[in-house]
Symmetry: C2
Subunit: 523 residues, 2 copies
Amino acid sequence: MITLRSWLKDGWHEGTADFVTLVNPATEAPVARTSTTGLDLRGAVEYARETGGPALRAMTFAERGDLLKRMSKVLFEVRDALIDASIASGGTTRGDAKFDIDGATGTLAYYAALGQKLGTVRALLDGPGEQLTRSPRFFGYHVKTPRQGVAVHVNAFNFPAWGLAEKAAVALLAGVPVISKPATATALLAYRVMERLVEAANLPPGALQLVCGNAGDLLSYLGPQDVLAFTGGSQTGARMRGLEGVVSRSVRVNIEADSLNAAVLGPDAEPGGDTYQMFVRDVAREMTQKAGQKCTATRRIFVPQELVDGVQEALVEQLSRVKIGDPALDEVRMGPLATAQQLRDAREGLTRLQAAGARIVFGSATDVQPLGVPAGKGFFLAPVLLRADRPHDAAAVHALEVFGPVATLMPYADTADAIRLVARGEGSLVTTLYTDDRAVMEAMVLQLAPYSGRVFCGSAKIAEQATSPGAVLPSCVHGGPGRAGGGEELGGERGLDFYLQRTALQGDRALLDRVLGINASEA
Amino acid sequence: MITLRSWLKDGWHEGTADFVTLVNPATEAPVARTSTTGLDLRGAVEYARETGGPALRAMTFAERGDLLKRMSKVLFEVRDALIDASIASGGTTRGDAKFDIDGATGTLAYYAALGQKLGTVRALLDGPGEQLTRSPRFFGYHVKTPRQGVAVHVNAFNFPAWGLAEKAAVALLAGVPVISKPATATALLAYRVMERLVEAANLPPGALQLVCGNAGDLLSYLGPQDVLAFTGGSQTGARMRGLEGVVSRSVRVNIEADSLNAAVLGPDAEPGGDTYQMFVRDVAREMTQKAGQKCTATRRIFVPQELVDGVQEALVEQLSRVKIGDPALDEVRMGPLATAQQLRDAREGLTRLQAAGARIVFGSATDVQPLGVPAGKGFFLAPVLLRADRPHDAAAVHALEVFGPVATLMPYADTADAIRLVARGEGSLVTTLYTDDRAVMEAMVLQLAPYSGRVFCGSAKIAEQATSPGAVLPSCVHGGPGRAGGGEELGGERGLDFYLQRTALQGDRALLDRVLGINASEA
């Protein structure tokens, strides 16, 4: 069993006490231990601000893009080892592991290319300049410059590689140094990622630090130029957002939290048709990929009243084929939940959904026979499909995210009813609508948008070409209003804004043009 | 003495008890009373969401622009009456009153024109669409739609007209209904503004409501689609941002709070030159306009070491000419502070600045002889110039906003030192730099930007054409990082984003193009 270390102030540091043991969630065999007791987290914050920030800001966007390209490349070179680490420590199947690790290298590569596109500048112009008064000389621009602080990233247990990389890619490209804190339970993979980056990516000093274990007093050091990005549960997110120092120093906070993502089958769906099949396939995949431990997984399934029984049958058929067990086995398609606590929470959540009027129509909160696992071991939960025939009365179904292979099937009356039901989730990361009917699209897409960070429209002509609804693409914003945390990550260049200060510049146009490197003939 | 009413659910409502008396701050004569006791604020929130929101969202941006145009026009028609109300209730000179009221009508007119420009649409595209995978059919857009909630605006006492109008203009154009709560002490002017709008602007039902007096339990009703914008002191701002419901429901919050705005005279300044004179004139104006009760007023004056004595002399000369007294008198150039509490706070603040190493070189915390005011009446404070010769040791000078005609003059060693000193303010609304030297601009402008919502560059060639640094233009963002609250208002179309949800749309390009009204030949 190895001891994970933290990468702080350009050195590896081991905690001194209070070690936590990480286990393989399929077998419960110990895989690593970690601790942050005794580590100088205040020093790490200062090192980021005083060493990492200046180093990154001295680079152009293109140079920072080169850094991301190196990071992507050196991680890709050890892809197989990272996949093994994911399977052993995260309970992921090989497919799940690739989803995480290829997501990491892909997002780094995407932002590397964006850096090239932004070019050899250190500040970004925001829109064209404009004359501010009647005088053509007195002119205004908006410019975006890197915040002079540190970005603290607190990541969720479900994507140790992608979570670290997607947040770091955006912050580093913006010119802001990062302290990344993976969730402890699955930190082994994040640690392997960091080991490789330290070894081979030629990171600028202080640009990226890793805290493996408890965050300790890290957040208490955040100040007015710093930012905090969190992915995880709503309660923890709310606690962070409400921290006295965060509130009083206007620390910028981005939160990505609970999300009762809905999939809506349009009223025009024809059983057996391509769109219908796409819907069934996507829902079953979203329920079971990573054992449903994805913030973008479908939790609520809305289907026209008359199609509910047929959809239930089709989903049950798909779900019953999913082989559960030790993800190290090739034939296994779904592994365990990540921790014993996650399993307890999911089971308790199932009880609450049932109390709210949903009944289990497939699977069980307790019965499961995982393949290749010693009897009684592992944090396994079989896929569970619930059904709530009176969805407006089933409050918990719209409010409680059961973070496992669990979703609830519900009928809706008409498109207006479907919109109202989606809205009951109070803000989601992704809403999925399956239809080939332009009128349905027009009645629903822009009405679903205010409640959704992303609306994915499935239809026959893209059934074979689309990504899965749960896939988070670097080019599209990721986040959602309300319950989903109210945040926004990625989205190409949009994601940089969280790390940049936008400033209006006013003055003599000729002087400003020179400072900004604007050629008067272009402007 | 009139009783102010609140405009809620399309009717005027009077509180039932606990009336607060508003006084003329120059004479302490009562001018109005108000109360919100017994008012149905929960009902107002629901009315905004259920009636105001749908009414506004049914309109296009152009139609909402028409609404703002009417609002601007009908307020301009009663400009003289509004100026009188401002002078009588706000302690403002005629010039101060115009600054507020013309700011209101001007900002409404600016956003009216933006509405025309955005045209007959109800959602905004955010950037061009893009292909998401190798298939040209699977395409992505980002779209911005109005949040389906209410915007609660809590305004400061210093700009009762502009504060109401600038926030309302942006929210209403975005399609989000408003409940505006002016500061009680100066609410008479906001009440007059609202009276006129109700009478003549043909407001859509529920689009704009006014709470005159204590906010009561208003903020406790905010939910995941709502937004809260606050202008005022840091402590109140932090309290609002940290409210349990605001935190747990991801209510979007924009705060504009304390700001230790700096004015920097460049090292190239020549005493008596145009830029130097512009600097002296601007600083004196920023100190005394509205008796220094502006969030953008200059609080810290940084001058090259060798020029400090000369600048002090020039500022003292300007300040000594300012006639203080009842602003109803034509010859008066500076009125009182707005309330007895403001005067107490400013005096206490002066004591703290002195304790921190600043000494008063002009004016006094207590001595003042206002013109045309009964002896001992009114909340007057004479302009006070302080000087701190060891600015790095004078912590309070960089942290404590004394909200009156008060600023501190300090020397700096070189441009790097000036940047460090500006940064000590931990985030400001506006930083002003006076220089004609391109090298100074290059060394400073982008380095000051991360600490500033706006950088105003004064120079000889625009000395006669520029607005004053304290003027907030609707085309430029207004807000600042850190201590200034971390918010952003205005900035033309940028200001709308606070009220809109940005959503990624993914799907079949042909279907999405039709829903978004995109002509394929354009795209």
